[in-house]
């Protein structure tokens, strides 16, 4: 306990100004817990991409809060050397929203799975999108429920056999990119664990973007999804950058979102700059800055004014 001093006083967190930022290598964002994913799980690639992205952006581990739900993919914060919350299945976005509004100085990254974010968490996801909160949502979309050993997820393709659809899936998959775009997302992208450098680059753009950013990552589950394998994706993916896609074009973005499954675009589908974020419009934050840095307690005058208002 030598280094662990106790204090009666709260030392409010302060974001390190860019000028004082210390450079961190991607490996500086490795925690001392060894990832327990199955060998070759796509989530390794996502973790590596994220570590590279935050390193490239020159972020400090202490200024990042990574919030996940529950699932194989949601174990990520444990392996990522930043502050983290490994919250409840489907609730990462809501927890992250509270944390971001309490301390908008944090770089908030939400990570999780397709079941977590597009299944049980679908409502929170889309409501966060329309708020344009300045957070980045990274979904490890393996089109399956991994941790619960292989049931259909909301992105499982039609006819796929899983533990819960032994006769083949009879529900259409959701299109998360299109959902985000039509709900007013200001940054919507897709990456693939099989393209690690591209993934890191897209993630860096997403984190840098001011406003809600979604990076849907194809992150193959090698154990339970025998359809959407690395090979399957490799045969289909291409990069939007190579196709002169205009990410400012709302309609073009939607069109691209509906290209799959024959051809699967990777990269930034849609991006809108300059939209005000939720935090930028909240009265309390604008007047007083981050809640977490305010002094608590009221003055006698304030208390009297409140009480008098009832008289």
């Amino acid at each position: 306990m030598a280094n662990q001093l106790v204090s009666k006083e709260f030392h409010a967190p302060v974001r390190t100004p860019a000028a004082e930022a210390v450079a961190h290598k991607p490996t500086d964002f490795k925690s001392d817990v060894k990832p327990d994913w199955c060998p070759s799980c796509g989530d390794f690639g996502v973790l590596a991409g994220l570590q590279k992205a935050v390193s490239t952006l020159g972020l400090q581990p202490k200024d990042i809060l990574t919030v996940s739900g529950i699932g194989c993919s949601s174990n990520l914060p444990g392996f990522f050397r930043t502050y983290g919350v490994h919250s409840l299945h489907g609730r990462s976005v809501a927890v992250a929203t509270g944390a971001k509004l309490a301390n908008p100085d944090l770089t908030v990254i939400i990570t999780g799975g397709d079941g977590d974010g597009y299944g049980i968490g679908l409502g929170h996801f889309l409501h966060a999108v329309r708020r344009n909160l300045d957070v980045t949502y990274i979904v490890m979309n393996n089109q399956i429920y991994g941790l619960t050993t292989g049931q259909a997820s909301p992105t499982t393709s039609v006819a796929a056999k899983t533990k819960s659809t032994p006769g083949g899936c009879i529900e259409g998959p959701l299109n998360p990119l299109a959902l985000a775009i039509v709900s007013g997302a200001t940054f919507v992208a897709r990456a693939f664990s099989g393209e690690p450098n591209h993934m890191a680059d897209v993630m860096a753009q997403a984190i840098k973007h001011k406003g809600f950013s979604l990076v849907d990552c194809f992150s193959p589950c090698v154990t339970y999804n025998k359809i959407n394998t690395y090979q399957w994706f490799k045969e289909r993916v291409y990069k939007l950058e190579d196709k002169k896609h205009d990410a400012a074009d709302f309609k073009a973005a939607l069109d691209r979102a509906f290209e799959e499954p024959e051809k699967i675009p990777l990269g930034v589908f849609y991006k809108r700059e300059g939209a005000a974020t939720y935090e930028d419009q909240d009265g309390a934050i604008q007047k007083f800055g981050p809640a977490v840095r305010q002094k608590l307690g009221t003055t006698p005058e304030e208390r009297k004014a409140i009480w008098d208002s009832f008289k």
């Binding site: 030598a2 030392h11 409840l88 309490a102 301390n103 309390a284 305010q294 009832f310 008289k311």
Partner: protein, 578 residues
């Protein structure tokens, strides 16, 4: 004969008729002239129509209940006449342009005072103002204060609108003076001005003063009042107010904000609370401070959204799976509501756990005058880890360090050198999951014991649960929540009468339970009667679980209404004499 110096007033009409606001204005006037009052508004789950009845008691000494029957009834529609004219004691005020009163159906001595609104005001919508003017005359209240109030209320409107309203009030006053006889009521003048507020407003104001910086909620009767009071005021006090997409989000946001270091709160009612329970368990596990106000209403399910009940006790006790540290407090009065928020935040932060405040519709929505009291509250945030320059750290930071008290020094995201992951899976002192380690029963036990140990220390710092009233009373009445004010009224009434005496054991701490205090009080009691608003006697069941003592004599009410004083008095007499 000396005039009566208290007033029971009912104002009846349909939703949209504005009777509550007329009643509140009158209540406010009386409060400004130093009188006490207590009001309960009975309404329904619909926006227009139906029957709304605002029930107000005014007196010089503290009023604890609304009146069973009114001295004066103001009827804003015919329906009110049909329903409750028979209950009025002294007088009925009504718009004689549109309402008929059959005097033969009234109580003996009750007078029907018609107000020809068309003659007295330019607009029939001003009928309330005219009626309040007449009322002021009848009970000898201060018309000047009403004028002041009307000018405040219509402050944003033109001078013409203000003048017209003031004139209407005056017209009512004058008409009464000229046409209505004396009804033997004269309200006294009290001292100073008194605050008038609801329990929900007290929760809101308490949150501001307690340093709450984040309130997330989803609208739900009867908790919305907290939101409605805070929404327009939050920014002024640096509080982020966030309407969430549902209660799942409201609660999870509050946990996120609490985890990040802001004092955070959410509020809801039973159906919404059901949706919050999973994240309450999360707060227990990741040791995030958070305060949840749940306001009970008539159940089960959607039930009676605008009616009162105390039927959610076990829902709150049983919130979320597994054993985890938490506190549950049930305040009883408006002042208590205010203070409970401060207490809740201190417990939440010092012990790093969720604190639930259990209110009920009556407490949350009734209006009450409150004498001035010390508004300041101590803010105790517990122990913090000291930030450290990253390089310095010779060993990992143990966010969940196993300490003597179970409380581990806290850290929040953004602080230097205290990186950790807060996980809902079982974890070790550092925060690393142990759910994927083979089997580490020893570590698991240590972490469970560490968390639960906090309860021992928390329990020690709670205020004692004491019997109120004469120690040697013949009957101890057990109650909780808003029912306390009824029992308080009963005690004052019965004990003033001189005969047998009663005292009160009000249960405020639901969890941890004040087992020793309650056991001692119940053992000492000559007779015990419990009064609560639910079918199964939930508080009695809890008491039996915690003390082994069975309370056999109960007044249980589950019809959605506060218990009438008469009915409660009869039961008390029976208990005293039985």
């Amino acid at each position: 004969m000396a005039k009566k110096n208290t007033l029971g007033l009912w104002i009846g009409g349909a939703a949209g008729d504005g009777n509550a606001s007329a009643g509140e204005s009158f209540m406010q006037i009386c409060a400004r002239s130093g009188l006490h009052s207590y009001a309960y508004n009975s309404y329904q789950s619909l926006i227009r129509g139906g029957h709304v009845l605002f029930q107000l008691a005014i007196s010089e000494k503290k009023a604890w209940v609304h009146p069973d029957a009114p001295d004066i009834l103001i009827a804003l529609n015919q329906d009110t006449i049909e329903r409750v004219a028979k209950d009025a004691i002294s007088a009925i005020l009504f718009n004689s342009d549109k309402i008929k009163v059959d005097e033969s159906k009234l109580k003996k001595g009750c007078k029907a005072f018609g107000l020809p609104i068309m003659q007295l005001a330019p607009n029939p919508l001003m009928q309330n103002t005219v009626a309040v003017g007449a009322l002021i005359q009848l009970v000898g209240a201060d018309l000047g204060l009403y004028e002041e109030m009307l000018r405040e209320r219509f402050g944003k409107k033109t001078k013409e609108v203000q003048d017209a309203n003031v004139a209407a009030a005056k017209a009512g006053y004058d008409y009464a003076a000229k046409n209505f006889g004396d009804i033997g009521i004269q309200l006294p003048k009290g001292k100073g001005k008194k605050a008038v507020l609801t329990g929900n407003q007290a929760f809101g104001a308490g949150a501001v003063v307690a340093g709450c910086k984040f309130y997330s909620a989803y609208p739900m009767t009867p908790a919305s009042g907290i939101m409605h009071w805070l929404a327009p005021r939050a920014a002024k006090y640096g509080m982020v107010f966030k309407q969430a997409e549902d209660e799942l989000a409201a609660m999870n946001m509050a946990v996120g904000a609490g985890h990040a270091g802001a004092r955070s709160m959410t509020g809801t009612s039973g159906g919404g609370f059901a949706l919050m329970t999973e994240a309450i368990g999360m707060a227990g596990m990741i040791e995030a401070p958070v305060v949840v106000v749940t306001v009970q209403r008539g159940g089960p399910s959607t039930g009676l959204p605008t009616k009162t009940e105390q039927g959610d006790l076990f829902q709150v006790i049983g919130a979320s799976q597994g054993d985890f540290p938490k506190a549950i407090i049930a305040p009883s009065t408006v002042e208590d509501a205010y203070k409970t928020v401060g207490e809740a935040f201190n417990l939440a932060e010092k012990y790093q756990l969720p604190v639930m405040i259990v209110s009920d519709l009556t407490l949350s929505e009734h209006l009450e005058t409150v004498d001035d009291f010390e508004l300041d509250m101590p803010i105790e945030r517990g122990v913090w880890a000291t930030p450290r320059k990253n390089g310095e750290a010779g060993e990992p930071f143990l966010r969940y360090m196993n300490t003597d008290t179970g409380v581990s020094p806290r850290a929040v995201p953004g602080q230097e050198g205290l990186l950790y992951v807060a996980g809902t899976d079982e974890h070790d002192e550092k925060g690393d999951l142990i759910s994927d380690v083979h089997t580490d029963p020893a570590k698991r036990r240590m972490m469970m014991e560490k968390r639960q140990r906090k309860m021992t220390f928390l329990a020690k710092e709670l205020k004692p649960t004491k019997v109120e009233g004469p120690a040697d009373a013949d009957l101890t009445i057990v109650c909780w929540g808003s029912t306390y004010t009824l029992v308080r009224h009963l005690m004052e009434t019965v004990n003033a009468a001189g005969g047998k005496k009663i005292n009160i054991l009000n249960i405020r701490y639901v969890y941890p339970f004040a087992t020793e205090d309650v056991t001692a009080a119940l053992k000492k009691a000559k007779k015990v009667l419990a009064i609560e608003l639910n079918f199964t006697g939930q508080m009695c069941r809890l008491i039996r679980m915690e003390t082994g003592i069975e309370i056999k004599d109960k007044l249980l009410s589950y019809d959605g209404e506060p218990i009438p004083v008469e009915k409660a008095l009869a039961k008390v007499q029976e208990a005293l004499n039985g």
